[in-house]
């Protein structure tokens, strides 16, 4: 008997048997000729969509097509932060839905994703920012989300080593969401892939979609590097490549692809026990369970598909870090990398049908897609299964730009590189 359910008992049993009975987390599936639903893109969102389609909506002839390998894209490139501290009505319920799914995720998919609700602290530096955070905290609490305003003493107690007396940005306090935190990002991909696989979903790696077959205005299948596949419905969850895949169906999207860089240092002993963000200085940081400091800042700010950035932003992020916590100056940087962000025109995502029948779009996650993974999967699965938007994603419509119903948290307008 194989040990397919992860538990203390299966671990003990396998310990006695030389760990010979573990099965691969997912089958190396080959494409079949037809599926009910094809998800293009085997990232976190695509895998979560397939999982919820099979688990909650009973659709099991589902394929996830991934051009590379599982965990090789943004789901393995992000800074692992989860939070639901959003201000606008279209966003708050969605991200709180995601936070609740994170809280039950490991039991749901029987996989240790190292969900760690260590708190997310956003610092403020002047009266106007304090007012903005009070307003944000109130909006969160009205939606049933936890939010706590910390004064300077409370921040000092929590993170005493910050530079409180920075000449330009002296720290006056912060907004804390205690339920926010981090989740092991690779485990999210592997866990959803395994759970979807067990429900019969085919996860097909090294299978790049090269065309979308459209007959009489209806998408009927895809052409791939591993042959043609027909489908009842096609869902695009292609993150930074959304514009390119949508163009195969003749669509132009309200999206620009931009590069975002992230950084990790050598492993340290416990250093910082919550996610801390320094918005004024374009810097945020947390510590992984392995000990490395994981940090990042703004996107580079120009269109890119290169998965690597340039030095000015590296300098800017590290200057922000030195301004906030000078003691990181002696830590050595281990790795630095880039990922491609599907920056939407209002900074908020799109989960909607397109003008092509049978073709659905999940895109525009900007640099905040990881935290949204479970709710994005659930809402996209709901849309694919029922042909109507999920209650918490009803504002993420593709036509909102034309209707003037944009969801612009940062209030910067149609400037994707400023969101």
């Amino acid at each position: 008997m194989s040990s397919d359910h992860y538990s203390l008992f299966s671990l003990l049993r396998e310990s006695l048997r030389g760990h010979a009975g573990w099965k691969p987390a997912w089958r190396k599936a080959s494409p079949q000729l037809a599926y009910d639903v094809i998800i293009v893109g085997g990232g976190g969102h695509g895998l979560a969509t397939a999982y919820y389609l099979a688990r909650r909506y009973g659709i099991q002839r589902v394929a996830v097509l991934e051009k590379g390998w599982i965990g090789g894209g943004n789901v393995g490139r992000n800074t692992t932060i989860v939070r639901s501290n959003y201000l606008l009505p279209g966003n708050t319920p969605f991200y709180e839905c995601s936070m609740k799914l994170w809280e039950g995720l490991e039991q749901d998919i029987n996989y240790n994703a190292m969900v760690s609700q260590r708190g997310v602290l956003n610092l403020f530096h002047n009266d106007a920012q304090r007012n903005a955070y009070i307003r944000r905290g109130n909006a969160m609490r009205l939606n049933g989300v936890d939010a706590e305003l910390l004064n300077i003493e409370a921040v000092r107690n929590k993170v005493p080593f910050l530079n409180f007396d920075n000449a330009r940005f002296p720290i006056q306090g912060g907004l804390l969401q205690r339920r926010g935190g981090t989740v092991r990002h690779d485990a999210v991909a592997w866990g959803y892939a395994r759970a979807a696989d067990r429900l019969g979903v085919d996860i097909i790696e090294n299978c790049e979609v090269t065309g979308i077959t459209i007959q009489n205005g209806i998408a009927t299948g895809v052409e791939t590097t591993r042959g043609k596949i027909t489908a009842g419905k096609i869902g695009l969850a292609c993150a930074g490549n959304s514009s390119l895949v949508a163009a195969m169906a003749g669509l132009r999207l309200p999206i620009e692809s931009h590069v975002l860089q992230a950084f990790v240092t050598e492993g340290l002993k416990p250093f910082i026990d919550c996610v801390t963000t320094f918005g004024a200085g374009h810097f945020y940081i947390s510590q992984s369970d392995k000990g490395g400091l994981v940090f990042g800042g703004d996107i580079d700010g120009y269109n890119s598909y290169a998965q690597r950035g340039n030095l000015p932003v590296v300098e800017d992020v590290i200057e922000g870090g030195m301004a906030l916590m000078p003691r990181i100056g002696r830590v050595r940087l281990l790795r630095q990398w880039g990922g491609i962000m599907d920056m939407s025109m209002d900074g908020s995502p799109i989960i909607d049908h397109t003008s092509v029948g049978g073709l659905y779009l999940n895109a525009g996650w900007c640099y905040g897609g990881f935290k949204a993974t479970p709710a994005s999967g659930l809402c996209f699965a709901h849309l694919l299964a029922r042909d109507e938007p999920h209650e918490v994603a009803r504002d993420y419509r593709l036509d909102r730009f034309g209707r003037g119903a944009v969801i612009d948290e940062k209030g910067v307008g149609a400037q994707p590189n400023l969101h």
Binding site: R252, P254, E256, S257, N303, R308, N310, G402, N417
Partner: protein, 92 residues
């Protein structure tokens, strides 16, 4: 990535501000609603050569048209946006 400004020579990226796709053209004031939606919100977002506007705010303050490969960040050309504006795709 460095940009060679036609007026100032090779300069660091921090001197410039990115202003996106240079091939977009503002519709006529009485153009249909959808023409304005396309202009403000929809983008080609190509993987490969991209004509884009950069503003040399810390240098000569000229608007530049840069043709740059979004897959490699290789710069093909930098020219003045006034002297040689990027062609509008619908013109060609």
């Amino acid at each position: 990535m460095r940009l060679t400004c036609p007026h100032c020579g090779a300069r660091a990226l921090e001197e410039f501000t990115y202003r996106g796709d240079a091939t977009l053209r503002r519709p006529a004031e009485d153009a249909p609603h959808q023409a304005w939606v396309d202009y403000v919100y929809l983008r080609d977002d190509p993987a490969g050569y991209h004509s884009e506007l950069w503003y040399h705010g810390v240098g000569c303050r000229a608007w530049l048209v840069v043709i740059r490969n979004t897959l490699t960040h290789q710069i093909k050309s930098v020219s003045s946006a006034v002297a040689s504006p990027a062609p509008n795709k619908s013109d060609s």
